[in-house]
């Protein structure tokens, strides 16, 4: 009735990664999230670097943990205005003096157009803050909830009610 509708999904992600490395990454990520420690997050980053190349694929929203929201600020390295979902590639400080790339999956361009977005809404080099639900498998990817620009402007995702 409702649950095969706003999906974002596919098993392609796991194909990119070895099962052992994924488990190591996931365990490290879980520990990092539980403790919120930069040192643990650092080990998580290393584990993920060993495991993953790119998370850029197509996902079901069942791939994400809707009970959690992460907030990250970073620099847009790439903005993909693609079907079935848009993608924000974000370069983020790892808390250890380095950078890591996060790949955040958004909604479909058709819905975002109706919510006021366009293919020029974001630009590479721009600093933004994103809210998202993280992937269950611990890779550096997530399901986008909200984008805020450096000046605090919210780029919402809500579609206005249909005109009568």
């Amino acid at each position: 009735m409702y649950d095969t509708t706003d999906q974002i999904g596919s098993g392609l992600l796991t194909v990119l990664m070895s099962a052992v490395a994924v488990r190591a990454a996931h365990e490290a990520a879980t520990a990092a999230i539980a403790e919120g420690s930069h040192m643990r997050i650092g080990s998580y980053v290393i584990a993920v670097l060993l495991a993953a190349t790119s998370a850029f694929a197509h996902h079901s929203n069942s791939a994400f943990d809707g009970d959690k929201v992460m907030v990250l600020t970073g620099t847009v390295t790439e903005w993909k205005w693609t079907n079935p979902h848009v993608w924000i590639f974000l370069s983020v400080d790892d808390g250890n003096g380095g950078k890591v790339q996060w790949e955040i999956e958004g909604r479909t361009p058709g819905q975002l157009v109706r919510a006021g977005w366009s293919r020029t809404t974001l630009k590479a080099g721009e600093t933004i803050t994103v809210d998202f639900s993280p992937a269950k498998d611990g890779t550096r990817t997530g399901l986008l909830t909200r984008v805020r620009r450096a000046d605090g402007t919210v780029v919402g995702q809500q579609t206005p009610p249909a005109a009568q």
Partner: protein
């Protein structure tokens, strides 16, 4: 006086135009469903369940940005992965099919998209494709209705010319199945058969090859279309299951579906 007559005549002409356009499909009192529609609250039930859950936990992250923490996070995007269990109002499956559903549920909870047709860019099939989450366009002629959905660029046809599914059709199930319709007053009654077994229906429920769908489609008020959907499956279901979807007709500039071309995302290999 002549001005009044002109105004009156214009009003009459307008009225005539409206009536003829809404009735032209059949030339009788049956309505014309042609138009572009937006679903009315397609996630209503799911949202209600999600609202009952505790709010999301904000995960500490290494780079939350200056002052970002001062802004409360919005509710997360609704993630339905089966952890909520099987709702009381879900279709009543027989044990064999309930066991199949449990396998599907565990796969989804683990984060897999194996059983999510939309994630694989294939049609959700009947009747789930009638969620029409991103909008629906209906073309209605005397002999045929074609419905297009933006989500996954799906479409289905409902034949109104009296034809019946041939054996060839019955032997070749598809996601949308094969639909024929007839009128009962202002209600279009549609029967759909030959639906693929792997096209899951409500709450990712599996069904058998004996799965059939009957819809009763009508305007409940001007511009509000209702589709009352009853599915029957003597092998998989303890009893028929009925759900109702509603759609609101939209007008310019919101009456254009956008291309979806889902495979673009699948072809992301560089």
């Amino acid at each position: 006086m002549s001005k009044n007559v002109t105004v009156f005549s214009s009003a009459l002409l307008c009225l005539l135009f409206v009536s003829t356009s809404s009735l032209r499909a059949q030339g009788t009192s049956t309505p014309d469903f042609t138009g572009v529609y937006s679903p009315i609250d397609p996630f209503g039930q799911a949202r209600a369940r999600a609202a009952a859950n505790p709010p999301a936990t904000v995960v500490p992250s290494p780079s939350a940005g200056t002052g970002a923490g001062a802004v409360p996070p919005p509710r997360p995007v609704l993630v339905l992965d089966g952890r909520e269990g099987r709702p009381d109002n879900a279709p009543k499956l027989k044990p064999e099919y309930l066991a199949k559903w449990e396998v599907i549920r565990k796969s989804r909870m683990a984060g897999s998209s194996e059983f999510d047709p939309n994630a694989r860019c294939v049609s959700a099939g009947m009747p789930n494709m009638m969620s029409m989450t991103y909008g629906m366009e209906v073309q209605h002629t005397k002999d045929k209705i074609t419905m297009y959905g933006e989500l996954n660029d799906v479409y289905r046809r409902i034949y109104l010319d009296g034809r019946r599914p041939s054996q060839k059709v019955l032997d070749d199930p598809t996601f949308a199945g094969y639909s024929t319709g007839h009128w009962e007053g202002d209600t279009l009654v549609v029967d759909t058969v030959a639906i693929r077994e792997d096209a899951l229906f409500d709450t990712f429920s599996p069904h058998s090859d004996q799965f059939t769908v009957r819809e009763r489609i009508r305007f409940t008020s001007p511009g509000v279309l209702e589709d009352r959907i009853t599915v029957t499956d003597p092998k998989a279901l303890l009893e028929p299951f009925t759900s109702v979807r509603t759609y609101r007709k939209v007008s310019a500039p919101n009456d254009e579906l956008r291309e979806f071309s889902c495979a673009e995302g699948l072809a992301s290999v560089k």
